[in-house]
C-alpha cells in the first residue's frame, strides 16, 4: 500500500488535475446549457442526442475527479432526456422541468468557472475521496459471471461466503438434497466431500446429467488418496484440499476456465484484409464459436497446426499467395484432408467457383456475407465434420477412439503437457484370456467382452482424459495431470468394475495393465507405449488381473 508521503504526493497530483479539469468542465457545462436551450418542440433527434451524450460523458467523468455534484446534475439531465430519445412517438417537452434543469446547469457552469478549487493542493490528509453525497449514486463494480454452486458447505458457509465476496465471485449454496432444484447457468460447482466421497461422486454424475454435461466440478476435501481416486473416476475437473482459501480457490477457477475453453469449436479465418476480418468477427459474435484470425496467408499451415481448427474460412483474393494456393497447401497434408474449407469472395463467375472446388473447397460464400447465412453454413459444415470425424475416429464395437484418432489426440495432450509441465499417464490395458474366451465361447462372447470394457472406460475418468481401443483386445487410457502411482489406483477401480460385470454363460472378465508416466518413463507416445507394454508384460507374467506402474522404463 502507499505510505503517507506517496499518498500526499498523489493527492497533490489529483488536486492539480482537478483544477485543470474544472476549467474544462465549466466550458462543457456552459455548452450543455446552450444545447438544452436550443431544444424545442418538436424535438430534433440529433440535438437531443447531443444533449444526452454530453450529459452522459460529464456524468461519468466529473465524479472521478471528485466533483460529485456535477455528476449528479449531469445524471438528472441524462435521465430526463434519454427516455425521449428511445421513445418512438414524439413527446412534448416538459417545459418547467427543462427550465429548472437549465438553470441548474448554468449555475453549475458559473460556480465551476468562478470558484477556486475547494480542495487545497497541499493538504496533509488524503482528500481525493468524492463528496459524501455521491456515495448513494455510485454503484460498486459488478462481476459478470454466472454463479458458482457450493454444495454441502454446512458450517463453512460463512467462511466461503466471505471468500466469495473477497474475489467478487457470485455463489449459490445448496445442500446435496437441493441439487436437483438448481436452474440457470452455472460457472461450476464445488462439492464438499465430508467423508462421503461416494456420494460426492454420485452428485457429480447427477449434476453432469441434469445441469450441464461438461460442468466443471471440484471436490473439496480431497487430501486422501481414496477421494482422489473416486473423484478422478467420477470425472471431476479438479480436487482441492481443505480448508478452502483464496489461493486454492483461484487455482480451482483457473482449472475451470481451461475446462470451459475446450468446449467451443474453432473457426480459423485466413484473410489479409483486417477490415473484413473485423466484419466477420462482428457477424459471428456471440455464436458459440471461437474465431481466430490469421492475416498472413503464408502462415496458414502454421496457424492450422497451432489452433487445430474445426473449419477454415478462406478469402479468395490475398497477397502474396491467394486462397486457392492456401487451400491446395492444406489439402496436400494428409492430416487436414477433411478439414472443411469455406471460401468467401466477391467474384462469382463459374470459373472462379470451379477453381475453388478444384482446390479443395467444401463451400463457397459470396460477399457481401449475411450473418445468418454465414452462421448457418458454418454450422452445417461443423455438424457434418463432427459426424464424419466420429465415423472415422470411433471404433464401432467399443465406442472409443480408434488407434489413429487416439494417437492424434494424445500428441496434442503431450504437447500441452510439455508446455505446462503437467504429468500425463499412459495406460495400456489388455483383456485377460481373450483368446480362450473366443475359443471356448465363440467370437460373439469376445465381442461382448470388448464392448463392455469400452462402455466402462467411456464412463470412467474425466472428460479431458483420452480413451481408445489400440487394436485387438488392447485398450489405451491417457490420464491428464496424474502420476503413474495415482493412475494405477484409477485403473484398479476400473478393474474391480470389470470383474463385477455379469456376462453371458457366467464368464468372468479381468484385465492386466501397464502404466507409464510422462516425462519419467518416456517423452513420446512411442517411448511411453514401450514402457507401458513392458510393465503390462510383467503383469501378465506375474499372474494377470494386475495393474503395474513400476519397473524400469524401457525406452532408455
Amino acid at each position: 500500500m502507499t505510505d503517507q508521503t506517496t499518498t500526499h504526493a498523489i493527492s497533490e497530483k489529483v488536486a492539480a488535475l482537478r483544477a485543470r479539469f474544472r476549467g474544462r468542465l465549466a466550458t462543457r457545462m456552459d455548452a450543455l446549457g446552450n444545447a438544452i436551450d436550443a431544444l424545442e418542440s418538436p424535438i430534433d433527434p440529433h440535438a437531443l442526442e447531443g444533449v444526452v451524450d454530453e450529459a452522459h460523458r460529464i456524468r461519468g467523468t466529473a465524479g472521478s475527479y471528485g466533483l460529485a455534484s456535477a455528476t449528479e446534475l449531469a445524471a438528472s439531465v441524462e435521465d430526463h432526456f434519454r427516455p425521449l430519445l428511445d421513445s418512438e412517438v414524439p413527446i412534448a417537452l416538459d417545459q418547467p422541468l427543462i427550465t429548472e434543469l437549465r438553470r441548474k446547469v448554468r449555475r453549475m457552469a458559473d460556480e465551476l468557472g468562478a470558484e477556486p478549487d475547494p480542495v487545497p493542493a497541499a493538504r496533509p490528509e488524503p482528500q481525493t475521496q468524492p463528496d459524501a453525497e455521491s456515495e448513494g449514486e455510485r454503484s460498486r463494480s459488478v462481476r459478470l459471471q454466472p454463479p458458482l454452486l457450493v454444495v454441502g458447505a454446512g458450517q463453512r458457509t460463512d467462511a466461503i461466503s466471505a471468500l466469495g465476496e473477497r474475489l467478487s465471485l457470485p455463489l449459490v449454496f445448496a445442500t446435496p438434497a437441493q441439487v436437483g432444484t438448481i436452474h440457470g447457468p452455472l460457472w461450476g460447482a464445488l462439492l464438499h466431500v465430508d467423508g462421503a466421497p461416494e456420494s460426492a461422486a454420485a452428485l457429480t454424475r447427477r449434476l453432469r446429467a441434469d445441469v450441464a454435461p461438461h460442468l466443471p466440478i471440484a471436490l473439496v476435501g480431497g487430501s486422501s488418496e481414496l477421494v482422489r481416486d473416486i473423484g478422478v473416476h467420477a470425472g471431476v475437473t479438479t480436487i482441492v484440499q481443505e480448508p478452502l482459501n483464496e489461493t486454492r480457490l483461484r487455482e480451482v477457477l483457473s482449472r475451470f476456465e481451461t475446462a470451459r475453453r475446450t468446449q467451443q469449436p474453432t473457426v480459423l479465418l485466413i484473410d489479409d484484409d483486417p477490415e473484413f476480418a473485423l466484419v466477420v468477427s462482428d457477424l459471428l459474435a456471440g455464436r458459440e464459436l471461437r474465431l481466430v484470425h490469421e492475416s498472413d496467408p503464408r502462415r496458414a499451415l502454421e496457424a492450422i497446426a497451432e489452433e487445430r481448427p474445426d473449419l477454415v474460412l478462406l478469402d479468395l483474393k490475398m497477397e502474396p499467395i491467394d486462397g486457392l494456393e492456401v487451400a491446395r497447401r492444406i489439402r496436400a497434408l494428409e492430416e487436414w484432408r477433411t478439414l472443411p474449407i469455406l471460401f468467401m469472395t466477391a467474384a462469382v463467375s463459374d470459373e472462379v467457383r470451379l477453381a475453388c472446388y478444384r482446390a479443395g473447397a467444401d463451400d463457397y460464400i459470396p460477399k457481401p456475407v449475411l450473418a445468418e447465412e454465414l452462421d448457418a453454413r458454418i454450422r452445417v459444415r461443423l455438424d457434418r465434420q463432427r459426424l464424419h470425424r466420429e465415423r472415422a475416429d470411433i471404433d464401432p464395437l467399443t465406442g472409443l477412439a480408434n488407434r489413429r484418432a487416439f494417437s492424434e489426440r494424445f500428441e496434442n495432450l503431450l504437447a500441452r503437457a510439455r508446455d505446462t509441465g503437467v504429468p500425463v499417464s499412459l495406460c495400456l490395458i489388455d483383456l485377460d484370456h481373450f483368446k480362450r474366451l473366443n475359443d471356448e465361447y465363440g467370437h460373439l462372447a469376445g465381442d461382448q467382452a470388448l464392448e463392455r470394457l469400452g462402455q466402462l472406460m467411456q464412463h470412467s475418468a474425466r472428460f479431458e482424459d483420452l480413451r481408445g481401443r489400440w487394436g485387438g483386445e488392447e485398450f489405451v487410457l491417457a490420464l491428464w495431470g496424474l502420476e503413474p502411482t495415482v493412475a494405477r489406483r484409477v485403473l484398479q477401480r476400473i478393474l474391480s468394475e470389470v470383474r463385477a460385470c455379469e456376462m453371458d454363460a457366467g464368464v468372468r472378465l479381468s484385465f492386466t495393465a501397464g502404466v507409464a508416466g510422462f516425462p519419467h518413463d518416456g517423452e513420446s507416445l512411442e517411448e511411453l507405449l514401450r514402457s507401458a507394454d513392458a510393465r503390462l508384460y510383467h503383469g501378465k507374467e506375474t499372474g494377470r488381473g494386475r495393474v503395474v506402474s513400476e519397473g524400469k522404463a524401457q525406452w532408455q
Partner: protein
C-alpha cells in the same frame, strides 16, 4: 509490471484513470481513444487487463469487446467494462459477454486499482 490498457473516448477519464492506476495502483498504463487505437495498442503492448468504456462513438464498447476477443493477442486478456449507467438491462447485456466485470463511472481514483485487482486477480 502488469500493464493495463484503457480504451475510452473521454480524454479526462483516460487522464484520471491513468493517475489512479499508475500513481496510486502501481500498474503500467497504455491508453487508446477508440476501438481501432485500442486494437492496435492491445496487439502492440499485450496488456494484462483491459478497461473498456461501453458508450463510445462509432464503434461502441460491446463491439470492441468482441473484436478484442477475436484478436489472438487479447483472446485471453481479462476485460472490464466501464460505464456511467449500471442499469439492470445494460448489465444484462454486458453479462452476455465473457467480461470479468463492470466498473461504475464515476469511480474513486484511490480505489480503482484495487477494484481492477479484485475483479481480475491481476496485481500490479
Amino acid at each position: 509490471m502488469a500493464v493495463v490498457l484503457i480504451i475510452d473516448d473521454e480524454e479526462d477519464i483516460r487522464t484520471i484513470a491513468t493517475l489512479a492506476l499508475e500513481d496510486v495502483g502501481g500498474f503500467e498504463v497504455v491508453t487508446a481513444a477508440n476501438c481501432a487505437e485500442g486494437l492496435q495498442a492491445a496487439a502492440k503492448h499485450r496488456p494484462d487487463v483491459i478497461l473498456l468504456d461501453v458508450m463510445m462513438p462509432d464503434v461502441n464498447g460491446l463491439v470492441t469487446f468482441d473484436r478484442l476477443q477475436n484478436l489472438p493477442e487479447t483472446r485471453e486478456t481479462p476485460i472490464i467494462f466501464m460505464t456511467a449507467r449500471v442499469q439492470r438491462d445494460e448489465v444484462a447485456e454486458l453479462q452476455a459477454t465473457d467480461a470479468k466485470g463492470v466498473i461504475a463511472k464515476p469511480f474513486d481514483p484511490m480505489t480503482l486499482a484495487d477494484e481492477v485487482t479484485e475483479l481480475t486477480g491481476v496485481r500490479p
